[in-house]
Symmetry: C2
Subunit: 108 residues, 2 copies
DNA sequence: ATAATGTACAACCAAATGGTTGTACATGAA
DNA sequence: TTCATGTACAACCATTTGGTTGTACATTAT
């Protein structure tokens, strides 16, 4: 999944197929590599469910699957949430430095 | 960057170092692989700026760099934004199907 | 029918990846 | 000092990756 996003060519294919559905050969014409190479990139994205292919005549039309993009983003958002939780914990410690003392009654 | 996030061991290291700063050997003790292997994973994360190392005595303490996590998340959020923009465009087309016709006067 | 286009897939190759072991060195503990 | 711990790094290996070319086949165009 993140592996599928790990090369710029694949992220570019993803971007293009978000904008509009395109055939594999149309995509291939955009890059300076063989059709077969682009075909492989497309199938990596497909295996990760980041794109979907459908047949139309002899063409295979590729479109992005925004659901999986959202999943990846959500995972990273969870990490940021962990970070915020950690900061909150640290803040708590700083706010109550005498918490381990046995019931400091009141004032203090 | 996404490549650094592409293996579960590295994502796990990232998660642990978000929770709290840890030495490389502490991290290594969590996985069933050699210390050197974990060391390599750590250096991949470091090269991607997803973590930061600092020396303390003979130990190297590792902590997550939330800034880069945010960058990755933001990139994916941009993709989702592209998707929303595309949907909006399609909606516009559907909302004004006769736009190219020369002023359909009224009723119709 | 024939040619051109779009795709699939296999075989091959160089380079990168993810792991290992071994060696060296700095620091902390006995 | 001597020993144990934590790290760095090199060398090596199997597998994966990212690219190539070549062949085959379905669909469209002439």
């Amino acid at each position: 999944m993140f592996h599928a996003l790990a090369t710029s060519v694949r992220r570019d294919i993803l971007r293009r197929t978000i904008e509009r559905e395109q055939s594999v050969s149309t995509l291939a014409s955009e890059y300076e590599m063989s059709f077969a190479a682009v075909q492989k990139h497309v199938s990596v994205l497909e295996a990760a469910n980041l794109i979907v292919k459908r047949a139309e005549g002899r063409e295979r039309l590729v479109r992005a699957n925004p659901e999986m993009i959202a999943r990846a983003r959500a995972l990273l958002a969870r990490y940021e949430e962990l970070w915020r939780a950690r900061i909150a914990r640290l803040d708590d410690l700083l706010a109550a430095p005498a918490a381990q003392h046995p019931t400091p009654k009141q004032g203090d």
